[in-house]
Subunit: 129 residues, 2 copies
Amino acid sequence: MQTLSKNQQIIFDLINKSPEPLKAYTILYNVQKKGIKAPLQVYRALDKLVEIGKIHKIESRNAFIACHNSSCQVAKATAFSICEICEKVTEISNDSLSKYLANFKDKDGMKYIKYNLEFFGLCKKCKVK
Amino acid sequence: MQTLSKNQQIIFDLINKSPEPLKAYTILYNVQKKGIKAPLQVYRALDKLVEIGKIHKIESRNAFIACHNSSCQVAKATAFSICEICEKVTEISNDSLSKYLANFKDKDGMKYIKYNLEFFGLCKKCKVK
DNA sequence: TTAAGATTGTTATAATATAACACTATGTAA
DNA sequence: TTACATAGTGTTATATTATAACAATCTTAA
């Protein structure tokens, strides 16, 4: 568990307390009062936070959420469910799924240490409506 | 198998014959001689081609490849392997995997019709080097 | 034939992300 | 403690990816 730099901490705190994924420029607007003024400052912190597994990027949405999977030990094997109506995103932590994917071999017998899986559908609330 | 419009056909042909994923603006530069001059013309064709499953978007790369999975019947359940060195992308078509994911239920018992999975690693060639 | 829907062409602009350079802080080894 | 490497910061400029808005044209099914 490494210590975060000033900018990294500010940006992680913001993402961590957000109930929804945040986009880079939304983050920028929200940390300008804390002295982070330029996109690059945000992107650099985001890059690092992703690298150390504190946050994940939702690729299909260009947005970032804090890791809630086993205290951020799983930086390279990520799975999410995404509601196509309300855009709610939930990190999936499921042993069967992660084992299946970690052990998956393609037809060349090749294994992959890293993957990202995004499921799309309707969340409970949106399904009812 | 629906017929493609003029722009859709031009752009599909380009992507289909490319050995690697193509980015939108790379596509644009390559079809300008055929009269497609503006980004929006490219993006509109791409949107449609993705929608009907003729191509897929590689979300982590913002790039597009032609579907090679059972003649494009699987538009909503996609899996790829991506080499982190040479950026080679291969569509995975594996019955076990697609069945597993299609039947996956999260802890709320929820199923998802649509997913996108991207595996990362080194391709055969790059592994040897 | 005609009206709805899809597609096209065009200009402008929004949203997302990185290059390059100079400077500062921090940790580590001599 | 110095000095070196590494990581982080601040800044300006710019590259890359994607969409808004509007008018015109093509396609197709009743």
